[in-house]
């Protein structure tokens, strides 16, 4: 089956969703990501959805689940690149993705991860 690739960059896992995902594919991504977080001890997951033309309740729920599972595994999730029309539709649908951190693009998402208290304290320790 077709899978969404997960790239590792330092402490961060990077996922760029570039295809219109069917439900099973979204569930597979959820499973693959949680496995990779625990294998790689990643501290952050960055999900780029700038290519997604829609996010419906199923994909929205999957994104919320990923953020929740990552948090339990001690990693933070940042969702980046949501198109304005997708944001408008998602809120009107009744989902505001509580508990999911967002940033406008990959660059800002990376800044957010670097500036998070968990990473900062670790860098401070390492630089001492």
């Amino acid at each position: 089956m077709e899978r969404i690739p997960i790239l590792k960059m330092g402490d961060c896992l990077l996922v760029t969703v570039q295809v219109d995902m069917h439900d099973q594919m979204a569930l597979t991504l959820q499973d693959d990501l949680t496995t990779r977080i625990s294998q790689t001890k990643a501290k952050a997951v960055l999900i780029d959805i700038s290519a997604l033309e829609i996010v419906d309740s199923f994909i929205g729920r999957m994104l919320g689940n990923i953020a929740g599972m990552a948090r339990i595994l001690d990693a933070q999730t940042v969702l980046v690149g949501m198109r304005p029309a997708v944001a408008i539709t998602l809120v009107e649908l009744g989902m505001s993705l509580p508990g999911v951190r967002t940033a406008l693009n990959v660059e800002r998402g990376m800044d957010l991860i670097r500036m998070s208290p968990a990473n900062r304290s670790r860098h401070d320790r390492e630089s001492r």
Partner: protein, 134 residues
């Protein structure tokens, strides 16, 4: 109100839900919808198509370009011969679900469209007619 052109598609699997999304997108673009309205119609279609698969084991969708006077729109008719909905009012409440979802499929897609009519007979099936005007 007259339907000028249309297309009917089967919805049996989650892969076919994606095919329905892509077809509805194509028709929404052809009808001249804005990006925001295209996104709303495609999202509503995705929710309703998934409902057809999850609750009724499959069905069909008819996508039609319609006109009423000067107005142009897109009408989506989802039909299945599943178990039917005993209480439509309850099914349309945010958060009500009989599956394992969030209960936003029906209520949310109703908000995304301009007209939304459900008819259902328990034991025979469900028909949802959802229209978006340009």
């Amino acid at each position: 109100m007259t339907a000028s052109q249309g297309e009917q598609l089967p919805i049996r699997t989650s892969e076919e839900v994606v095919v329905v999304r892509q077809a509805v997108r194509k028709w929404a673009v052809a009808a001249g919808f804005s990006i925001i309205d295209q996104t709303k119609v495609v999202t509503a279609a995705s929710e309703l198509a998934r409902n057809t698969v999850v609750h009724a084991g499959g069905g069909t969708v008819l996508i039609e370009q319609i006109t009423s006077g000067e107005r142009r729109g897109l009408r989506l008719t989802f039909e299945d011969s599943g178990p039917g909905i005993p209480d439509i009012e309850l099914a349309l409440k945010d958060g009500y679900t009989t599956g394992n979802g969030l209960g936003l499929g029906l209520s949310g897609s109703k908000r995304l469209m301009n007209e939304f009519v459900i008819t259902s007979t328990v034991g025979h099936g469900t028909k949802v007619v959802a229209t978006k005007w340009k």
